[in-house]
């Protein structure tokens, strides 16, 4: 006889079914009353400092009278919106850093449209990012500023730091892919780190789609954990349907996840082919425009932060930085969480901001 954990009491089970569906009904009723504007992401006050094409540089309003003199520029990925770092007041890396006296800037890459289909990595790194750094330097009359790059934004920051080491005082990379051929990363494998050209033909993809739709990217991310992200999450939410605050937290996260900008075609092509497929970053073969990126040029202090359970950027991929960068002042810092947990986990938000602030002020 196959062991079956338990036979149910029919009446109890029916009652449970009805109760679950009552909650679902109540939840949908609540959801139907929520307007898009009610779900606000980005809790901290900020002002626009500089704008170029669709890219906007913001400065967050300092929360202390005398902020730390060297500002920190956040460089986020092109995938998803940058305001995950300021999701809501009690889950905000930005807010916590502001409270600790850090002067924070952030780049919003915007939503590329068809007209941006030809933007290259050179445009993003050697134009937009470079100009934002210069604007911050000029505003504070500084030769060097601090940069914090997140995920793909971390990879961009590494390229920039290698090209312009004289403009960066301290470099922080967070959940940043460096070695794209670490085989335990599903994204790395899907992009072809093991089977090469037999995986995805990114030339064909960009030629066919132009810009890569955000929804297309999202479908791929959901496939990494189809049950958890497609089913389980929405079963679990039933339990918080009658708690408005928790429901709003959930909706903010949902909004962030599905608010995915399209990817500018040429930049996507180059990133996927040169970084994911050919792993050129650690080989010193990446070209931004006509200039080569040599990670050995990164001699400024480096703080490399990674998530121990990251399913998007495996720890080994981030940790490769130590081997390839030229910095003698290198420190790695990890947290027992996943890729997204780095921004929203209560425990991480308790420990990460002070770690960053004290490292910058050391």
């Amino acid at each position: 006889m196959p062991p079956l954990p338990r036979k149910f009491n029919a009446e109890e089970a029916i009652q449970e079914l009805v109760e679950i569906n009552r909650k679902v009904l109540k939840g949908i009723e609540t959801l139907s009353l929520i307007r898009e504007d009610d779900i606000r992401i980005g809790a901290s006050a900020k002002e626009e400092i500089y704008r170029e094409d669709k890219v906007v540089l913001y400065r967050y309003s300092p929360l202390v009278e005398q902020p730390f003199p060297i500002p920190l520029l956040f460089v986020y990925a092109l995938v998803n919106r940058p305001f995950m770092v300021d999701l809501q007041a009690d889950r905000s890396l930005v807010h916590n850093l502001l409270k600790l006296g850090i002067d924070v800037y952030i780049i919003d890459w915007g939503y590329p449209s068809r007209g941006d289909r030809w933007l290259t990595l050179e445009d993003y790194i050697d134009d937009y990012l470079a100009n934002c750094v210069d604007v911050v330097r000029e505003r504070h009359d500084l030769e060097k500023i601090n940069v914090l790059g997140i995920c793909q934004g971390g990879t961009f920051s590494l390229c920039y730091a290698a090209l312009y080491p004289e403009k960066i005082k301290n470099l922080i990379t967070m959940v940043t892919p460096v070695d794209f051929h670490v085989a335990d990363g599903l994204l790395n494998r899907w992009a072809g780190c093991t089977v090469g050209a037999q995986s995805v033909n990114f030339d064909l993809m960009v030629d066919a789609l132009g810009n890569i739709p955000g929804s297309f990217m999202n479908a791929g991310y959901l496939m990494l954990k189809p049950f958890l992200l497609g089913v389980q999450k929405y079963l679990d939410v039933i339990d918080i349907m009658d708690n408005e605050q928790e429901l709003m937290n959930f909706l903010r996260m949902e909004k962030w996840i599905f608010d995915s900008p399209d990817q500018a075609g040429e930049a996507f092509r180059q990133f996927m082919k040169d970084f994911y497929q050919s792993n050129k970053l650690i080989k010193g073969e990446v070209k931004i425009g006509d200039r080569g990126v040599d990670l050995k040029n990164i001699r400024m202090p480096v703080l490399n932060i990674y998530a121990e359970q990251d399913h998007l950027v495996p720890p080994a991929s981030s940790l490769a930085l130590e081997k390839y960068c030229g910095s003698e002042d290198y420190k790695a810092l990890s947290f027992p969480t996943g890729h997204i947990g780095m921004y929203v986990s209560g425990k991480v938000q308790r420990d990460l901001p002070p770690a960053i602030a004290s490292w910058l002020k050391r």
Binding site: P3, A13, L31, R117, W118, T194, V200, G210, P226, Q232
Partner: protein, 360 residues
């Protein structure tokens, strides 16, 4: 406004009551079934279908005016619920099948393996049919051309008749090619015949070639889709298999499933690790890559055909718009570079002027 709100509330209450009643009735049936397993009836399927129908009605009524995030969440919430219902259904079906085999003296592990083999066979029936139909060129042409029907109506009418000719031609019947040619010409007469004298537009060979390449790309996409579906079915079957093994382990560990909702617990524990194992295999990466590449290649071929018709109608094509964007992009870069150079020159002149003045 108040009246509307009252109507809306009444509507919600009515649907909620109907839903709850339906759930209760369906639930009762389901448990009758459980008690009597392994009977032949499948009330759980009915439960799942009714639930799905109610869910769709509910979501349409309640989120009609709500906005993107809330609406999307409601839809995903219901999809999650539906998936859970399906899980219960699958678990019950499997339980029924396994018990039935054990009653005829089979060990439960072996019964589970046999059941999973059945699931695989049933699930793959459809893809196998697709594979088979992939050999029937005429049928495929018909399906393929249906995709262009609205856009290129006169052409398609001719070509739909042509599918039989294509099949005959493929078997070496030369007369079919002549017939095919006549159908092409009829189509041309109905659509762009008046433009045929124009150089560059009148080449039937060009358009036929585009259709043929489109067909080849579409066929490749179908084959790639089938291969991908087969892998997904295999993945899902393995997940289910592991879920039952986990259920058995739970019982051995003394863990109890305390509620209907906890039916999903074994699945929750095994699903994503099993998916991850399969999805990270080189074989899956190749199959997925083939599907994506075939899909993109077909998209490009499709665009080539559409653009041909857009050109005939003097409507700008996507390729032309891309070209314009590229020109604008290049000019924007040039202007930025010139502005930067101008700023540097201006700064240099200002410095020189300042130095000269200070010397004077």
């Amino acid at each position: 406004m108040e009246e509307n709100f009252k109507d809306w509330t009444d509507q919600v209450e009515a649907i909620a009551k109907a839903w709850s009643d339906a759930q209760k009735a369906i639930g009762e049936k389901w448990f009758e079934f459980l008690r009597a397993a392994p009977l032949a009836s499948e009330p759980q399927r009915e439960m799942s279908e009714k639930w799905s129908k109610l869910a769709q009605e509910g979501i349409a009524a309640w989120t009609a005016s709500s906005e993107a995030t809330a609406k999307g969440t409601a839809q995903r919430l219901l999809a999650g619920q539906e998936a859970w219902m399906k899980t219960v259904e699958l678990a019950t079906q499997a339980w029924k099948a396994i018990v039935s085999k054990m009653e005829s003296g089979e060990q439960w592990q072996s019964a589970l393996n046999h059941y999973m083999d059945d699931v695989r066979r049933q699930s793959l029936q459809s893809p196998e049919k697709l594979f088979k139909s992939a050999q029937d060129v005429g049928e495929l042409w018909q399906l393929y051309l249906q995709e262009f029907q609205k856009l290129v109506q006169p052409w398609v009418k001719g070509l739909q008749q042509a599918e039989a000719q294509v099949g005959r031609a493929a078997t070496g019947d030369g007369s079919a090619l002549l017939e095919l040619s006549r159908l092409y010409w009829d189509s041309i007469d109905q659509s762009v015949g008046r433009l045929l004298q124009s150089p560059g537009l009148g080449s039937t060979r060009e358009l036929s070639d585009k259709f043929a390449k489109g067909f080849a790309a579409w066929q490749d996409l179908r084959e790639a889709s089938v291969a991908y579906q087969v892998m997904l079915v295999e993945a899902a079957t393995r997940v289910l298999e592991q879920a039952f093994k986990e259920m058995s382990s739970m019982a051995e560990r003394g863990e109890k499933i305390q509620s209907v909702r906890q039916w999903v617990l074994p699945l929750e524990r095994v699903a994503d690790p099993v998916f991850a194992e399969i999805f990270s295999s080189d074989e899956f990466v190749r199959v997925q890559g083939r599907l994506l590449n075939a899909s993109m290649a077909y998209s490009i071929r499709q665009r080539e055909i559409v653009e041909q018709f857009l050109k005939i109608s003097d409507i700008p094509t996507r390729s032309e718009v891309d070209e314009i964007h590229h020109t604008l992009y290049a000019q924007r870069k040039e202007i930025k570079a010139l502005k930067k150079a101008l700023a540097e020159c201006t700064a240099k002149i200002n410095r020189m002027t300042k130095n000269r003045r200070s010397k004077v």
